[in-house]
């Protein structure tokens, strides 16, 4: 599914498999379709290259770190929520000062 592949849209097989590539990456396809895609990829370098680029994209997303909860926000919430047994307080956490 490379951009470099002229007339790619005309390749019906590539197009049909293109729709399932994320499921292929995630291992969510049944064995027969998985084998079919594997077999297609063996003979289609553009599709193989596109799959690799999509796989790398997913890895980047998975590894990009999330924003950390600021300590002051955590402290405010715990202060508001931790005043009585069970962590409940007269002032619910939604009333924490913003």
């Amino acid at each position: 599914m490379s951009e470099a592949r002229a007339g790619h849209g005309a390749h019906a097989r590539c197009k049909a498999l293109f729709e399932r590539l994320s499921e292929y990456i995630d291992g969510e396809l049944d064995a027969s379709l998985c084998a079919e895609i594997g077999s297609h990829l063996d003979g289609c370098d553009p599709c193989k290259a596109f799959l690799e680029s999509l796989r790398r994209t997913v890895l980047i997303l998975e590894r990009t770190p999330a924003a950390r909860l600021p300590e002051d926000v955590r402290a405010e919430i715990l202060r508001a929520a931790g005043c009585i047994p069970g962590g409940r307080s007269a002032s619910p956490p939604g009333e924490v000062k913003k």
Partner: protein, 204 residues
Amino acid sequence: MTQAETDHELLDRIRRDEPGAFERFVDRFGGRIFGFGVRMCGEREDARDVLQDTLLRAFTSLKGLERPEAMQSWVFRVAANACLMKRRRGKFEPEREISLEELMPRTEDAGGVAAPAEIPDVSSLPDEELARSELRVIVRKAVSSLPPHYRIVLVMRDMEHLSTKEVAETLGLPGTAVKMRLHRARLMIRKRIEQALGGGTRDE
């Protein structure tokens, strides 16, 4: 409390008003909700509001949760609704499904001045280096640019590491819809990373 405390056990303790139980709930989910909020809303202040809204709901409703094993889905559903409510207060954008045709690579894409940039392989990149890299900024902008109904699925699946089943349960969508939106979202992100690294500023 040990790290082995399950959601089920934690919920039981919250129901019994055990000291510290709600604090552990905050420690278990607070960071994830905040991170989720930043990714969904794009702003730390909005994420802070989302966190507080979610905890307020948890404070008032968690005891009534019927299925303890669904606590994570429940938390993300509340947080997702809080994010979407923030969105509704802003720009109105109707939901529509993007066809695969719109996302298929086209030959003319390669016919421009520069060849498409290669997506970098981060598999061996240390965490600290990734955190400092321009990729983090590129990804943040790319995720923010997605339509919200695609963004939410992508963030939950690929960034919060929920399963397809969990996302489906959280958002009340069929698994097929989750998979369809995830795939389209990944394709959009892939293209935007490629464009950003290639120096282009094109957008759909």
